[in-house]
């Protein structure tokens, strides 16, 4: 019965960056905190991410970006989510994110930003808070 209320998260690695340690350990942390976790695998196009999010009916998309391209990628994905009627899905971004970019990301519509070094506790609580 619990499972019905589990938050479904898609952890996605957009683009060409292949550093996936962060994404994978966050998947494990979310799983241990009671989330249902889907991991996209590497080198995902934004189209693929939209498709997976739709098929898996997720509540949250968590992007993991280490290359520095978080601003253009997030902007484009948000536009695509809106176009595809996925505006109700929350978007979070993690990875190598300088703090100065956090306000820009939030203005774009990113619900939470988790720069490298954020504790698992803060990530899981932050994600749960999105649905309170």
């Amino acid at each position: 019965m619990e499972t019905k209320n589990k938050i479904r998260v898609l952890i996605a690695k957009p683009g060409l960056d292949g550093h996936d340690k962060g994404a994978k350990i966050v998947c494990l942390a979310l799983r241990d905190a009671g989330f249902e976790v889907i991991y996209s695998g590497l080198h995902q196009s934004l189209d693929q991410i939209i498709r997976t999010a739709t098929q898996e009916a997720v509540d949250v998309i968590g992007l993991s970006i280490m290359s520095g391209a978080h601003l253009p990628i997030s902007e484009k994905l948000i536009a695509m989510m809106n176009k595809n009627g996925l505006g109700d899905i929350k978007l979070t971004v993690g990875g190598v994110i300088p703090n100065r970019d956090i306000p820009t990301l939030k203005e774009m519509g990113v619900a939470q930003v988790f720069p490298g070094g954020t504790s698992f506790d803060k990530i899981t609580t932050g994600m749960k808070l999105l649905f309170k």
Binding site: I11, K13, G15, L16, D17, G18, H19, D20, K21, A23, K24, I25, C27, L28, A29, V37, Y39, G41, L42, H43, S45, S67, G68, A69, P72, I73, V96, P98, N99, R100, P115, G116, G117, T118, S119, F120, D121, K122
Partner: protein, 551 residues
Amino acid sequence: MGVAKYIKDERGAIKEVTYQSGIKVKPAYGPEDLENKGFEYEKDLGAPGEYPFTRSIHPESYRSRAWTTRQYTGFGTPQETNERFKLMIKNGQNGLNVAFDLPTQMGYDSDHPLAQGEVGRVGMAIDSLKDFETAFAGIPLDKIGSGLTINGVATIMMAMYQATAEKFGYAKDKISTTPQNDILKEMIGRGAWIFPVEHGVRLVGDSIEYAVKELPRSNPVSICGYHIRESGATPAQEIAYAFAIAKAYIDNVMERDIDPSDFVGRFSFNFNVYGNMWEQIAKFRAARKLWARMLKEEYGVTDKKKLFLRGLFGGGGSGLTKEQPENNIMRGAYYALGAALSGAQTTALCSFDEAYTIPTPRSALLSLRTLEMLMDEVGLRDTVDPLAGSYFIETITLEMEEKIIEEMKEVEKWGGMVKSISNGFIQRKVSRQAYEFEKGMQAGVYKKVGVTPGGQRDQADGEDDTQKTDVELHEYNEDWAIKSKANLEELRRTRNDKKVKDSLAALEKAAKGSDNVMPHLVKCCHSYATVGEMAGVFRDVFGEWKEPEFY
């Protein structure tokens, strides 16, 4: 990351020390420890420069030559990178270590839709020989060797390097390049793979075979325990997995009826240096010995020089912290000290701002100066392997050897490295370890200065360490993409299309059959075929890898 586990009593005295590789450290060591391990001078140590090379591959090591410094460099267009190369060389760096942007690493041209936002970001953007001509202009390619940090399309970049040298008038037997070219480690960590495992390994085999015959001063492969460690492997696994990968490449080349003695001397390695210093030193000493022994006993290699474990020991990226970034200057210096005490032949040091972005000129030079101090001021050149004979170091070197062998046996039990990667066993093991370690960090089980005073490292919202300290950030410039795309357009308009088509057709034929692709790639480069076109041929023929999706 990478620190040992300490169990302390209520007064803070250390009760138990366990290294990541599983070695337990005693409060003191004496002759009885060596006796218990069956330590024998000739078998386990020997003179520097003598089998099994535990102490050094060279009899006088740094006495005869200081280490080669190769800071990882490259960003923006080839023009910007060329300027940074020249800055580093002018400041005393004696080798290059080239960074490529992600589109280049993944075999896409700058105008490919997937390249959007990434052109020139994490390294320089290369589309064709024209770009290499710009990047290496004015660099004496017969004197300066270049490491090319690229894997999926390493064959293409190696061919491009040769073509550039030829254009500049350097004979191919005078140039020295070390493409990273270790596709199996990309599949464990770092993730810049393209083709399915067997095709990836074939390309590595092609480049080794070609280098043996055509590029006598080049090292066709640099096997990277480095990234495997960054992904969560222990120091013992770092070495064990790198050696298991080396065996996979050796087997592929042996299938071409080439004797291991003809090529293993060209293998180079890239290992990490962060973490507990003694554990790193034991790791490198054990690794030199095990590599030599493996080649001698399993592959019948007898020529001394071909038994050397050569390579770049350095970096330390995962040990650096985003919190209090200036601490990384000191932290890096200690990692470099560990590398020097381990006899690193070539080295590099991650810069203190790398947890934020790629280094600024100031931070890159700081790293270079740190490395120079060890050689020129502190005394690391004075004598070879100064720690030899220490009861502690020799004991843990033997223990490290046992741990590495254990890890290698597990891979063999799983059916070898190719199989262990294809079915995801290694990736799964490594990422779970990374998770457990990170949990321990966050719980304060492992201590990291400036990060885990009491186990809590979250900063208050809005607080930014880059603002508290004077970390300047390397800025990404959108113009780089515009410039690269314009150059590419110009190239497509002005080159000889027939030559391009013919060379690509010949490449396709070689890729489909069993001919070595390298000579064809050199021709493609000379005809100004683009990286995307050459990689496109491989994509069509080989397809792309589908990774086992474990986390």
